[in-house]
C-alpha cells in the first residue's frame, strides 16, 4: 500500500533543507470534493507563495475553502490539480511515509479543536511527534518538558487535557506542534474556540515564535484583531483569492472589490 518507488530519503532531505526560495509555492491549485451530490469545486486555481519567516493570515467567509487549503498545505489532503511545492519539492510525487515524515518533521499543525489525545498526559501529548521521529525516551521527555515550559504549562505536565482550560489546551497543542522544531507552523482558527484575552495570549506566542525563531506561520482566522498580528493577509472568497497583501492599511476591509492586481502578478 505504500509505494516505495520514490527514493524517499533524497526527497525528504531535499524538502527539509532550508531553501532560500519560497517555503510554500502553490500554482493553479484546484480542489474538488466528490460526494453523492456530484463534484463540488471548492478551490478554483489558487496561486500563493510564502517565503521563509513570513507570517500570513488567511481570512474568508465560512465555506470559502480556508480549511481545505490549509489541509492541503499541511499534507493532510491532496489537491485535485495544480502543484504544491513544499520547500521547492512537489508533494504530489511523495509517498505516504514521506508525507508522514514531513508532517512530523517540517510542519507543525494547530487545530481549532485542539485535537489532543484525551487519555494521555500533557507531557505525553507534547512528546507524541517525537515518538514517531524515533527520539529516545529521555530526550522526548526533556524536549516535551521544555516546550511545556515555554507555553507556561510545565507544572501541569502530568494532567490530562480535560483537566485544563481551552486556552491551556491550545497552548499544549502549540507546544506539540513545535516540539519537533518545524519550519512551518500551520494553524486553522487556533483562537476560534477561545475568549479574546486567551486568544491574544496565543497570538503573542505566535508572534514571538515568528519574530524570534523565524518560524514561517500560516494561520486561518475570521477575526480582524487576530489577523492584525500577521504581516500579510490572504483573503479567500468562494475558492478564489480576492486579496493578497499587507495586513495593514485598510486591507482589513472585507470588501471583495479590493481584489488586488498583485494576485495575478504572482503567477
Amino acid at each position: 500500500m505504500i509505494g516505495d518507488s520514490v527514493p524517499q530519503g533524497d526527497n525528504e532531505a531535499a524538502a527539509r533543507e532550508v531553501a532560500s526560495g519560497p517555503v510554500i509555492h502553490i500554482r493553479n491549485l484546484r480542489k474538488e470534493y466528490t460526494s453523492v451530490a456530484g463534484v463540488i469545486p471548492v478551490l478554483h486555481g489558487l496561486n500563493i507563495e510564502v517565503m521563509p519567516s513570513e507570517f500570513v493570515a488567511i481570512m474568508g467567509a465560512s465555506g470559502s475553502g480556508k480549511s481545505t487549503l490549509m489541509n492541503i498545505l499541511g499534507c493532510l489532503d491532496i489537491a485535485t490539480s495544480g502543484s504544491y511545492l513544499l520547500n521547492g519539492h512537489d508533494v504530489a510525487v511523495l509517498d505516504r511515509d514521506t508525507l508522514a515524515h514531513l508532517r512530523n518533521d517540517l510542519i507543525g499543525f494547530v487545530f481549532q479543536g485542539f485535537n489532543l489525545l484525551p487519555r494521555a498526559s500533557l507531557l505525553d501529548n507534547v512528546a507524541l511527534p517525537l515518538v514517531y521521529s524515533k527520539v529516545s525516551r529521555e530526550e522526548r521527555e526533556a524536549r516535551a518538558n521544555e516546550m511545556l515550559g515555554k507555553v507556561g504549562l510545565a507544572k501541569y505536565r502530568d494532567s490530562q487535557p480535560n483537566q485544563i482550560s481551552g486556552g491551556q489546551q491550545q497552548r499544549v497543542a502549540i507546544a506539540r506542534a513545535l516540539v519537533n522544531r518545524p519550519q512551518l507552523l500551520l494553524a486553522d482558527e487556533p483562537t476560534g474556540n477561545l475568549d479574546s484575552h486567551t486568544g491574544n495570549e496565543i497570538m503573542n506566542l505566535f508572534k514571538e515564535l515568528n519574530e524570534r525563531d523565524g518560524i514561517t506561520i500560516v494561520l486561518i482566522t475570521h477575526e480582524v484583531e487576530v489577523a492584525a498580528y500577521a504581516h500579510r493577509l490572504v483573503r479567500l472568497a468562494d475558492g478564489h483569492i480576492v486579496y493578497d497583501g499587507s495586513s495593514h492599511e485598510g486591507a482589513m476591509s472585507k470588501n471583495p472589490t479590493e481584489y488586488s492586481a498583485a494576485v495575478h502578478s504572482t503567477s
Binding site: 500500500m1 505504500i2 489541509n71 499541511g74 493532510l76 489532503d77 505516504r96 511515509d97 508522514a100 515524515h101 508532517r103 512530523n104 518533521d105 499543525f109 487545530f111 485535537n115 489532543l116 489525545l117 487519555r119 494521555a120 507524541l128 511527534p129 515518538v131 514517531y132 521521529s133 524515533k134 525516551r137 522526548r140 506539540r176 506542534a177 519537533n180
Partner: protein, 407 residues
C-alpha cells in the same frame, strides 16, 4: 518506539478495562478448553496405549462357543467349555504360533497371616507369561514340572502383594487359597488397567492342572475358559487365525458346513480399533475446543474493529503529527496481540487447573504436555495476529484528512 507503543496499548486497554477483559475472556475460554480437551484426550489415548502394551503383541484369543449370531459368543448349552488343555497344546505346535496359553479362572479368598484378599485365581501354563509379555518383579515362573506334578505354587500380581504382604517380600512365603497352602514362587511386575478397565495386577496365577484337579470342583476335567495365542509376527496373524480354525475344526470333528463350536478373536485388531476410537475422540475434542478458540479470535476482531472506529479521530491526530501507516498498524496489532497473549496465559493456567481438578474429581487420567501448551500458545498468538490484522490495517489505511474529519 515499541516501549511507547506498549505503554499506549496499555493505556487504551486500561481505559476500556471491561471491554478488554470480556475480549480476553473469549481467548481464556478458548485456550483453557483446548488445554483441557487435549489433556483428557491424551490421557485417554495414553491409557489405551498402556493397556495395549500391557496386553502383549500379536494376540489371538480362542473362546468356546460359536460367534455366528450377532457377534456374541454363545456357550454350548450344558457343556461349560468345548476347549481343552490339549487344544492349547496342539495350537502351540502350529508353525505360525509362538505360544498358546490355556486359562481357567475362579474368584477365591486368599489368606496370608492375618490378612485376606479376594482375587481372581487363574490357572494357566508357563507359556502365559511370554504370551502376555509379562515380566517378573521377583522370583520365577512355575514350570512344566509344576504342571505335571500338580504342585500348589502361585505367582502373585502387584495388587495382591500390596494387599497381603505390604512391604514384606512374598517369595517363598505360604498363602492359603480356599484353605489350601500354596508356595509363592514369584511376583509379577505391574501392568495396570486392561482395555476393559480391569486391574490386571489383581490376580494370582497357578498351574492350570492344579486349578482343574484341586481348586475347582465343578469343572469338566481338562476344559479351559479360553486360550490366549501369541502369533510369531503381525503379518502371520490372518494365516494363524485360519490355521487355528482349521486345526480346531479337525480336532473337534466338525463336519463341513457345520458351525464352529469356538470363536477366534484378534485381540490386537480390537486393541487397535480401541486406539483409533480414542484417537478420533481426542481429535474431535480438539476440534471442538479449537472452534471456541476461533470464536475467541473473532471476538478480538470484533472489538478491535469497534476500537478502530471509535478511535478514528485519534488515528487522524496521530497521522497529522507524523505517524506512518505502519505505526498505526503496529499499534492496533500490538493491542490485539497483547489481549490474546494475556488471554492465553490465563487460559493456560485455568486449563491446567481445570484439567487437574477434573481428574481429581472424576479420576479420569489427564496428560498435560508442554507441546499442548505450546500449541495453545502459538495458536492464540496466531489468532491475535490473524484477527487483529484486518482491523489494524483498516486503521492504517485511513487517509489522514478522513480520519481527522471523522465525528
Amino acid at each position: 518506539m515499541i516501549g511507547a507503543m506498549l505503554n499506549e496499548a496499555w493505556v487504551s486497554m486500561w481505559a476500556n478495562r471491561l471491554r478488554t477483559i470480556l475480549t480476553m475472556l473469549g481467548m481464556v475460554i478458548g485456550v483453557s478448553a483446548v488445554i483441557i480437551m487435549q489433556a483428557v484426550g491424551q490421557g485417554a489415548q495414553q491409557e489405551v496405549q498402556e493397556s495395549i502394551e500391557s496386553m502383549g503383541s500379536n494376540l489371538l484369543m480362542v473362546l468356546p462357543g460359536s460367534s455366528t449370531s450377532g457377534g456374541g459368543v454363545r456357550m454350548g448349552a450344558g457343556a461349560l467349555s468345548t476347549l481343552t488343555t490339549n487344544d492349547a497344546e496342539a495350537i502351540e505346535e502350529l508353525p505360525t504360533v509362538a505360544g498358546a496359553a490355556p486359562s481357567v479362572s475362579d474368584v477365591a479368598q486368599v489368606i496370608y497371616g492375618a490378612r485376606n484378599w479376594s482375587t481372581q485365581i487363574t490357572g494357566t501354563t508357563p507359556s502365559y507369561f511370554s504370551v502376555r509379555n509379562w515380566d517378573f518383579a521377583a522370583g520365577a515362573p512355575f514350570t512344566d514340572t509344576d504342571l505335571r506334578s500338580v504342585t500348589r505354587v502361585a505367582i502373585l500380581g502387584k495388587t495382591v502383594v500390596d494387599n497381603l504382604f505390604g512391604d514384606e517380600n512374598p517369595v517363598g512365603k505360604i498363602i492359603r487359597i480356599k484353605n489350601s497352602p500354596y508356595v509363592v514362587l514369584g511376583v509379577l511386575s505391574a501392568k495396570g488397567q486392561s482395555l476393559m478397565g480391569r486391574d490386571q495386577d489383581d490376580a494370582i496365577l497357578i498351574p492350570i492342572t492344579t486349578v482343574q484337579r484341586k481348586l475347582a470342583s465343578n469343572q469338566v476335567a481338562g476344559s479351559v475358559r479360553f486360550i490366549m495365542v501369541q502369533v510369531k509376527s503381525a503379518e502371520a496373524m490372518p494365516k494363524a487365525e485360519q490355521d487355528i480354525v482349521d486345526l480346531l475344526r479337525q480336532r473337534h470333528r466338525i463336519r463341513e458346513g457345520a458351525e464352529n463350536d469356538f470363536t477366534v478373536r484378534n485381540l490386537t485388531a480390537m486393541a487397535n480399533t480401541a486406539a483409533e476410537t480414542t484417537a478420533v475422540m481426542s481429535l474431535m475434542l480438539g476440534i471442538i475446543a479449537s472452534i471456541s478458540l476461533l470464536v475467541g479470535g473473532i471476538g478480538i476482531m470484533n472489538i478491535m474493529l469497534v476500537s478502530v472506529t471509535e478511535r478514528t479521530r485519534e488515528i487522524g491526530i496521530r497521522m497529522a503529527i507524523g505517524a506512518r501507516s505502519r505505526d498505526i498498524l503496529l499499534q492496533f496489532l500490538l493491542e490485539a496481540i497483547i489481549i490474546s497473549i494475556f488471554g492465553c496465559l490465563i487460559g493456560v493456567i485455568l486449563g491446567i487447573g481445570g484439567a487437574l481438578a477434573a481428574s481429581g474429581m472424576t479420576g479420569i487420567r489427564v496428560v498435560i504436555t508442554i507441546s499442548s501448551i505450546l500449541l495453545a500458545f502459538t495458536v492464540a498468538a496466531a489468532v491475535g495476529v490473524f484477527f487483529g490484522w484486518y482491523p489494524a490495517r483498516q486503521a492504517a489505511r485511513l487517509r489522514p484528512i478522513d480520519a481527522l474529519r471523522f465525528q
